[in-house]
Structure formats: structure tokens, C-alpha cells
Amino acid sequence: MRDVAIVSFATTGPLPAVDDTETQMLFPVISEAIERSGIPRADIGFTCSGSADYLAGTPFAFVGNLEAVGAWPPISESHVDMDGAWAMYEAWVRLQHGDVDVALAFSSGISSRSDLREVLCLQNDPYYLMPLWADHGSLAGLQARAVAEAGLVDEVVDTVAAPPASDGAAAVIMVAGDRAREVCERPAWIRGIEHRSDPHYIGVRDLADVPSAQVAAAAAGVGGGPIDLAELSAAHPHEEVLLRRAMGLADLVEVNAGADPLMVAGLAHIGAAATAIHEGRAGRTLGHAASGPCLQQNLVCVMEGTP
């Protein structure tokens, strides 16, 4: 495997409800990540974005978002309809090919203009759950109860807080090999990055367990050394409980959990975990992203400050 590191990160953080277009919101974030890397924009060999047009209700918004990148002369780029963490994963794979050394991964989400409970119903299977309009908040409630009944938390949670509805954007610059050492004093070297998925249909899952997070964490090498800081995409307290158990982080003190804003949270958590290494606050960190209802899909990225 080729050594690849995150050398810069920028994000808006959660915004309550932007007036800007998604492209306008992305524009300063991408520029900031590039400027912080010290690498000329023209040196970026691959660009990958993550977003969902259903959120703001703008068809082909992901195409328009490229206007915030600087896509002329034409660039090599791709898009995933997922959290930006998966865009970052694709960029990491692309860097493994060996012919490009610098990649940009970014993501954006505007959730404030729709009813997320309705919109996210569309990610359910179309035969059994979608016709019920089983929204992700209600499904999270089922999982919270399953966690309580399994004795993993002390008390039953009867209500699950409303899902996040904030807006935001994030971007990272990833660089391979010696170039990363040249531009960054303490690159956040990606030691392992893996993603796995549990079955799409909720009914066949044990909601008190997250096997996909467990397998992804093991494959990413989480257990290969002590983790100083874990950044987890957990929208609800019971999700943090499940993720800690699945990844072997039950006793870790330094955990930042939250899943706000949608499509951005995972990349933002990974970026925050990388920043802790850049700033010398941690030596080995974990960034996590989740997608789908009830922690259906999980991505784990382990980073280290030492080459």
C-alpha cells in the first residue's frame, strides 16, 4: 500500500439554515482546504465529492457544485451519493493507483429545506419499509429500545431526539508519499481505512449489534495500538454505545460523537481526527462515518502521526 496522508482540512461546522446555494457554501471551504495544504490547485490529480441532491431538492446539484472546485481546464473527478467520508475513501483508492499524488475530497449537505424524516424514507427498501414511511428517526427509536432491552444501557429511552437538520460542508486534501512530508509538518498518515455494510432490510438485523462497524474497525487495524482520540458519527447516545462496543473503544475517554450535518459529518469527524495529529494533540486517532438507518453502513479510518 502507498502511504497516503490527510494534510489539510476545512469545514463550515454545522450551520442552522444557509441562504447560500450549496455551491456558494462549498466555495470558501474548498479554497481554504487547498490554501492550507500549500499545494497549487492545478496539482490536484483527482477530486471526489459526496452529497445528496434529495436534501435541498436541487436536481444535479452535485454537478453544479464542481463550480466551487475550479474544474477548467477539465479535471478528473467523481461523485458519491454518500457522506464525504466515502468520497475520501474513493480518493484514497485512486491515490493507490500510483499515477497521481494529490487528491481533494469534499462534501456538502443542506438539510434545512426539507423534512428529513420524509426524505430519508427514500433510502429504505422500496417494498417493505418505504411504503410504511418508516423514517430514520422512528427506526432509531426501535434501535434505542433494542439497545436498552439488551441491557447495554441503564435505562430505556422512550424518545429519540429529532434527527439533525443542519447544513454544512467539509473538505480534505490527501497527499501520497514524500510530497505529504514536504507540505505538512505532521501529516495524518492513513494506516487503515475500511467500510462495511449490514443488511439493507432492518428486519433481518440484530439492532443491538453493529457487525459492519466491528468488521470495518478490525480490518482498519483499530486494535493494533492504543487510540488517543476517536471521532464517531453517532446521531444518538445509543449509537455511541453500540459503536464503542463494536470497535473495542468501550473505555476510551477521548471520544467526540455527533452526526451533524448529514452528508458532511463523517468527513468532518475524519478531518477533526486528522487535525488532532496535525496539531500534535494526538499520535493515533480514529475517524468514523455512518450511513443509512440504524448505523447500517460504517467506515473506519485509522490515522497516525508517525510515518
Binding site: D19, T21, Q24, F27, P28, R41, G57, G70, E118, L122
Partner: protein
């Protein structure tokens, strides 16, 4: 499930399940589009001139996507309400519920004088469909002031301009539009 007749017997009638989905969205007007719309209501078409490459974007975006620099009020320019046709399509309306069109009509991309990019899907009026051509010079037919509703997101002229009609001037030469055709 394994005994599902639809998969076991290819001759069985296909069963359909209607699944009607409607999603409601709040559309917001961004500040750049709002300023553009206010000018339209006043009978003016505005754009932003990129401080780096000098290209004029009308409607303005708030940035230059080629130079990747932000643009703002300091870069505001007014462009003409006249220009030339760079390309067009004649549409033959199919009748369905809500369809208001009855006759063939033309939508064109128009390069406004003073702008460096075209505005798309503009209605051509007062011209026979078989006389539309690249380089045809046209001018805006403004809607009455109280009917000028700008596009919420600043993608186009909304209802401020009801159509574009030939000015009667000589056609623009190909050099005027060769960089703006698709």
C-alpha cells in the same frame, strides 16, 4: 418468499404497486440571486465581472468558476437587454394535464451584449420558426413591472422577460458566437 409466483412462473401476470411520493421543499433565495432579482424588477439585467479574468457572468454566481475567486457588489455590472441567438430548439408540445402550450414554439440560448456566457431556455417571439438562425439579433420583451418575478435561485430571468424578438439589425458574424455554441 421462495414460492413467489411472479418469479416462479414467467407467464404469471405482473402485479403493480403504486407508490406515490411527494416531497416538500423550502426554496431560498441566496443574496446574489436576490440582488439580481431586484434589478430585474427594475428592468435591468445585471452580472458580476470576474476581477481576475474579466469575464462577465449574467446572472451572477457570486464567484468565477474558472478563476475560482469570489465576486461581489464591487464587481457588479449591467448588461444589455439585447443580444444574439447562439442556438435554439423548436418544441412541439404534447398535450397532458397542465400543459398550456398548443403551438410549436422556440427556446433559445442568448448571448447578451456585455456578457460572456449565454442564458438558456429563452422564448423567441415575433419570428417565424423557420427563420430562426444563429447570430439572429434579439431584444427583450419585458413583462409588465408587477409580473416580473425573478427565479428564486438566480438560475435565469424568471418571468421578468416574457420573450425575445428580432431587432431587425444585420445578423452577428459567426466569430461573435462560435465560442458559445453547444
Amino acid at each position: 418468499m421462495a414460492e413467489d409466483t411472479a418469479t416462479e412462473d414467467p407467464g404469471a401476470p405482473v402485479r403493480f404497486m403504486p407508490q406515490l411520493i411527494g416531497l416538500d421543499y423550502t426554496i431560498k433565495t441566496n443574496p446574489v440571486a436576490a440582488a439580481f432579482g431586484a434589478a430585474l424588477a427594475d428592468g435591468r439585467i445585471t452580472g458580476h465581472r470576474c476581477p481576475s479574468c474579466q469575464r462577465v457572468y449574467a446572472p451572477p454566481k457570486g464567484f468565477c468558476p474558472i478563476c475560482v475567486v469570489p465576486t461581489g457588489e464591487a464587481d457588479l455590472v449591467e448588461v444589455a437587454d439585447r443580444g444574439l441567438v447562439t442556438s435554439w430548439t423548436v418544441l412541439t408540445p404534447i398535450q397532458y394535464a397542465g400543459q398550456k402550450e398548443r403551438e410549436d414554439y422556440a427556446l433559445a440560448s442568448i448571448l447578451l451584449d456585455g456578457a460572456d456566457g449565454t442564458i438558456g431556455q429563452q422564448r423567441l417571439v415575433d419570428v417565424p420558426l423557420d427563420e430562426i438562425r444563429m447570430g439572429l439579433r434579439v431584444e427583450a420583451v419585458w413583462a409588465p413591472p408587477d409580473e416580473r418575478v425573478a427565479d428564486d435561485r438566480g438560475y435565469g430571468l424568471g418571468s421578468a422577460v416574457s420573450g425575445w424578438r428580432p431587432t431587425g439589425e444585420p445578423d452577428a458574424p459567426p466569430s461573435a458566437y462560435q465560442e458559445h455554441t453547444l
